[in-house]
């Protein structure tokens, strides 16, 4: 009997995948902080951003949200950056929006599915980083220009580049895992 995927299901599999995704995101964010954009001063590159996006696409919006939210907390805790709850929330939203396409994807190697996932990932990154950046207006009284040029754009562009390149690679690898395990 074929089981229909439910977008908002939160069972044991989602609990475990959410936990694994969070730990992975935290560790990889911590490990890849050394990567810098060539000739751009002090802008850290975070390829690990592909993790909440991919976990959202593969396991749904709740897992995507938890992976982004808790994973960012873990990454910041490991890096000694303290806790920035509004940026954690932004990362969670990024995974949540990407996960809204989870039920529409049946074959992770299919070109159309990858394109669909890419669109949702891009929307997720924009929405998540917008929420986190705009919160700076409320927190520190920054004006909209500062929010756009000092927070939003430096966060969105690297995340888009990383996410849009690495998520398809992870999707193709995941399809191979599924095929091998007969799922």
């Amino acid at each position: 009997m074929e089981q229909k995927k439910s977008l908002w299901k939160f069972g044991t599999r989602e609990v475990v995948n959410g936990a694994i995704g969070s730990a992975l995101y935290g560790i990889l964010a911590f490990a890849t902080n050394m990567l810098q954009i060539p000739s751009a001063g002090n802008v850290a590159f975070r390829p690990a951003v592909a993790i909440p996006l991919f976990f959202g696409v593969a396991f749904g919006p709740i897992v995507g949200f938890i992976t982004g939210f808790v994973g960012n907390i873990i990454g910041d805790l490991l890096s000694g950056y303290g806790m920035w709850i509004w940026w954690d929330l932004g990362n969670g939203i990024m995974g949540l929006v990407a996960g809204l396409c989870a039920t529409q994807i049946t074959n992770y190697r299919d070109g159309k599915s990858i394109l669909k996932a890419e669109i949702y990932c891009a929307l997720g990154i924009i929405a998540g980083m917008a929420v986190a950046s705009i919160s700076e207006m409320w927190m520190s009284g920054a004006d909209i220009n500062t929010v756009i040029f000092a927070n939003f754009i430096p966060a969105v562009i690297p995340n888009l580049i990383n996410g849009l390149i690495l998520v398809p690679i992870l999707m193709i690898a995941y399809q191979a895992v599924l095929s091998r395990r007969g799922r």
């Binding site: 044991t12 599999r13 609990v15 475990v16 995948n17 959410g18 936990a19 694994i20 969070s22 730990a23 992975l24 560790i27 990889l28 911590f30 490990a31 890849t32 050394m34 990567l35 810098q36 954009i37 060539p38 590159f45 390829p47 592909a50 993790i51 991919f54 593969a58 938890i66 808790v70 873990i74 910041d76 805790l77 490991l78 890096s79 000694g80 950056y81 303290g82 806790m83 920035w84 709850i85 207006m137 409320w138 520190s140 009284g141 920054a142 004006d143 909209i144 220009n145 500062t146 000092a150 580049i161 990383n162 390149i165 690495l166 690679i169 992870l170 690898a173 995941y174 895992v177 395990r181």
Partner: protein
């Protein structure tokens, strides 16, 4: 790569306070302080925030990275936005005001005259931004250094999160050492094949693609392991009954006192801002007199 938590036992007053009460206070503090732009109220929060910070006995060397990040944010927000570019300050500072250099500012060596719209009002706003951002940072920076990572799950359960969400957090924190070990093993295996994550050369695309040989096996291996964990948990009927936790949190008198204080703090802040109309941005007359504006 060495994965370590910032937490260690410090025998501080902070550690004796219930973790739920600490979260309640931290979040209340965040919401309360953001209601104000008046420096007098912000000064109160500044003292409160740093008193709270001092209770954790966190050494400067431990929190230095976090403060470095805060200082970078402050530099962007205050020096670049408020002082140099004279940005809109979020519509909080009224238009106009008294210019600091109405005749322009002469550069010392070159003798060039620069004109920028820095006003005394914006300067005072910069002070208020400092008084607001620093205590918020202090209250949140201290959390990872003073809260045992094993307590996060039970704490969020105690704060009303569903069992499954709280357990996900608990599991995530417990997975960190295991996944860090897997990550190191994969990195060593790839390095043995000539892989170099630290190499900075190459284009942006090359740098990102270079992460894939590390990212893909670690992620896929974790997902496969997760399947076994899911099966094991299902076999033990996970999620069918209310969970019990290894650590039991109990409120003591001091925790109740902190929660009552937090309730008073938020209700007083709401009363002052919403009912009394206080707390908005104002430049004190003594400041304008002092600077001769």
């Amino acid at each position: 790569m060495l994965i370590t938590w910032g937490y260690r036992v410090r025998n501080s007053i902070m550690e004796r306070i219930d973790s739920r009460a600490r979260w309640i206070f931290s979040l209340v503090f965040l919401f309360a302080i953001t209601m104000f732009w008046d420096a007098r109220f912000l000064a109160f929060f500044f003292i409160l925030g740093f008193t709270w910070y001092s209770l954790a006995k966190v050494k400067w060397a431990e929190a230095r990275r976090a403060w470095l990040m805060v200082s970078m944010i402050l530099f962007t927000m205050i020096v670049i936005n408020t002082i140099i570019t004279g940005g809109g300050a979020g519509g909080i500072v009224p238009e106009g005001g008294t210019l600091v250099w109405p005749e322009g500012f002469t550069m010392p060596i070159t003798g060039w005259t620069l004109y920028f719209g820095l006003t005394y009002e914006r300067l005072w706003f910069a002070v208020c931004q400092l008084l607001r951002i620093l205590p918020i940072s202090a209250v949140f920076i201290v959390i990872p250094f003073s809260m045992d990572p094993r307590l996060y799950g039970v704490t969020f359960k105690g704060l009303g999160l569903p069992d499954k969400v709280a357990y996900t957090m608990e599991l995530a924190f417990r997975y960190v050492p295991t996944l860090a070990r897997d990550f190191n093993l994969t990195m060593d295996a790839q390095k043995a094949r000539g892989y170099e994550l630290e190499r900075m050369g190459g284009s942006l695309l090359q740098q990102i693609v270079r992460v894939a040989p590390l990212l893909v096996p670690v992620t896929m291996n974790s997902i496969i392991t997760g399947e076994d964990v899911t099966n094991a948990m299902d076999l033990r009927c996970f999620g069918t009954h209310k969970r019990t936790w290894l650590v039991k949190l109990t409120y003591r008198k001091r925790d109740i006192a902190l929660i009552v204080f937090s309730v008073l703090l938020i209700s007083t802040s709401l009363f002052l801002t919403s009912v009394m109309g206080l707390g908005g941005f104002t430049v004190p007359s003594w400041f304008l007199t002092l600077v001769g504006a």
